[in-house]
């Protein structure tokens, strides 16, 4: 069933889009990532112009995050104060990121920077999570072994502006979460994603938040960061395709619900290893694209003139 997309100006199979949204939605609910890092490359692959794919991807991320966060709110696994603090940094970072994006675009190397940052960040985070997940999994299988201390006291805990985050069981300065939010915001805007896949490990490893509240809190702040990005794209380059978004969203919101339900059944260690495998797979694919000789050395970039 072909459908013509008014902004992308291509006809694609509606069922394919629903399925794509669904798969990404399941991942989004399962891992607390908005799915932008998957949906955007997948849309390129089915022939959606890159600009439209990036902008529409961020709109779809809003929907799957809302759907996921509502399920998490019901389970009380969202740390709203922490989310707000992250968001302050996140919106500022996204603003700075859009500025950097335009600057890199003027230099003509935005594609390369985006691809390289995908490979570097996804590769690094994937390896980190895989290593940690495997270690935790081994520990869980051999009870009685030494357990790592969860709260390590170091310089981060001596910063001023301390705040109590009840749901996370943390009493820390707001400076590290704002900084994390900012950096993720910058990367999110440059890479055209919500940033959950960077946010989730940053919350676990840098802020020391319990895995249980990390996903809900990440989804909570991703809603606002990707809503900001969607508006920025709609206003500056009119590349949000609402029909494309609607189809992805219909598949995505249902998928996100299924994913959230699944995440309640899987163990945290299994979840981490699965996400690590997924992140590494995407990084490997992108790295191969950079390293292997492409079949077609030339590419066409059309500028819409009307």
């Amino acid at each position: 069933m072909l459908i013509y997309l008014p902004i992308a100006e291509v006809a694609v199979n509606a069922l394919l889009l629903l399925g794509l949204g669904g798969v990404v939605g399941v991942l989004s609910g399962l891992f607390g990532v908005g799915g932008g890092f998957l949906i955007t490359p997948l849309l390129f692959f089915i022939g959606i112009p890159p600009g439209v794919a990036v902008a529409t991807g961020s709109n779809q991320v809003v929907a799957s995050s809302v759907s996921g966060v509502l399920a998490h709110l019901k389970r009380k696994s969202v740390d709203i104060p922490m989310g707000m603090v992250l968001l302050v940094g996140g919106v500022a970072g996204a603003g700075a990121g859009i500025f950097a994006f335009n600057w890199l675009q003027a230099l003509g190397q935005i594609d390369l920077v985006v691809q390289l940052s995908y490979v570097l960040f996804l590769g690094f985070i994937g390896l980190l999570m895989a290593q940690e997940g495997v270690r935790a999994w081994r520990r869980a299988r051999r009870p009685g072994g030494p357990r790592a201390k969860r709260h390590q006291h170091h310089w981060v805990h001596n910063l001023p502006l301390k705040m109590k985050f009840r749901a996370s069981g943390l009493y820390i300065s707001v400076i590290p979460p704002v900084a994390v939010g900012f950096i993720v915001g910058v990367l999110a805007a440059i890479m055209g994603v919500g940033g959950g896949f960077i946010m989730v490990p940053a919350m676990i490893y840098l802020l020391g938040m319990p895995t249980k509240v990390v996903i809900g809190t990440s989804l909570f702040q991703v809603i606002f960061v990707s809503a900001f990005t969607t508006m920025a794209h709609a206003i500056t380059n009119q590349s949000v395709d609402v029909v494309l978004a609607l189809l992805l969203i219909l598949g995505g919101v249902v998928g996100a619900q299924i994913g959230t339900r699944l995440s309640g059944r899987l163990k945290a260690e299994q979840l981490r290893i699965l996400l690590a495998a997924l992140v590494l797979a995407v990084a490997a694919k992108l790295a191969l694209d950079l390293l292997l000789t492409p079949a077609e050395l030339y590419s066409l970039h059309t500028t819409v003139l009307r």
């Binding site: 072909l2 459908i3 013509y4 008014p6 902004i7 100006e9 291509v10 006809a11 022939g47 709109n59 779809q60 809003v62 929907a63 799957s64 995050s65 809302v66 759907s67 996921g68 509502l70 399920a71 019901k74 003509g108 190397q109 594609d111 390369l112 809503a227 969607t230 508006m231 794209h233 709609a234 206003i235 009119q238 949000v240 609402v242 029909v243 978004a245 609607l246 969203i249 219909l250 919101v253 249902v254 996100a256 619900q257 339900r261 950079l290 390293l291 292997l292 000789t293 492409p294 077609e296 050395l297 030339y298 590419s299 066409l300 970039h301 059309t302 500028t303 819409v304 003139l305 009307r306």
Partner: protein
């Protein structure tokens, strides 16, 4: 002397002017709706003669269909420090988004190369890129890449022998427009040829535009981007909430 010769040649060619083309299109316009998945266009016509068909080289027909032009940047990847990155580019100010040629016989047999240059009929000449200031030494491989990529995507095509000419009078050509059409005015040209020279030509326009909801969405996104963006966000939030509510209802 040369001018006189040219004039004489022109006068010599005049009797052939007695053959003119009358043509029509199966559609007045193409409306792109949500269910649009390409369109068939039939271009048909007849040769009108004031006198019996002259002797000499046989009559041939070439029909072209051309989409609106746009700017294209052709980039080339090179290996730098082990990775493939875009290093060279050629900007093309205007090249048709779609171009199809159909003819009664192979172009090499029925079209004089000089005439092709004049009328810009064959694909490479019709899409001949107006390059800006050159940033590379040789732009030819870039232009070839443009032709190759667009041909592979079905945007540029040449169908030799696809025009059927009945009794030397009636002809028809079928074009299949792809689903990823660019909006704008499409132009058709019909050429009558004898001995490689165009003896008559006919032009017609075929407007292609979005209609109905497709048009509404497109216009809103351009004229009121703030409202459009808010609408997109509203749909996203509402859909997210609705799915959550529906699942709560289904599995209490």
């Amino acid at each position: 002397m040369i001018r006189l010769l040219a004039l004489m040649l022109l006068l010599g060619a005049l009797p052939a002017r007695a053959e003119t083309v009358v043509a029509g299109l199966s559609l007045d316009e193409i409306g792109i709706t949500a269910r649009f998945d390409g369109s068939e266009v039939l271009i048909y016509g007849a040769v009108r003669r004031d006198a019996p068909e002259p002797d000499g080289p046989p009559l041939h027909v070439i029909v072209t269909l051309e989409g609106p032009s746009g700017a294209v940047t052709i980039r080339k990847k090179n290996r730098e420090a082990g990775i493939w990155i875009n290093t060279e580019k050629v900007g093309v100010a205007a090249t048709p988004s779609y171009y199809a040629v159909a003819s009664t016989a192979p172009l090499a047999e029925i079209l004089d190369p000089a005439e092709d240059v004049r009328q810009r009929i064959s694909v490479p000449l019709a899409v001949r890129a107006f390059s800006g200031p050159l940033e590379v030494e040789d732009a030819r491989p870039f232009t070839e890449a443009l032709l190759r990529i667009r041909a592979a995507e079905g945007q540029y095509s040449l169908a030799e022998g696809a025009v059927t000419l009945v009794e030397g009078t009636l002809f028809r050509a079928d074009f299949r427009l792809p689903a990823n059409l660019v909006e704008g005015d499409y132009k058709t040209r019909i050429f009558l040829l004898r001995g490689g020279i165009v003896i008559d030509a006919h032009r017609a326009a075929l407007p292609v535009h979005k209609v109905g909801i497709e048009r509404m969405i497109f216009v809103l996104s351009r004229q009121n981007p703030l409202v459009y963006g808010l609408l997109s966000l509203f749909i996203a939030v509402a859909a997210g909430w609705a799915a959550s509510a529906a699942f709560r209802f289904l599995r209490p």
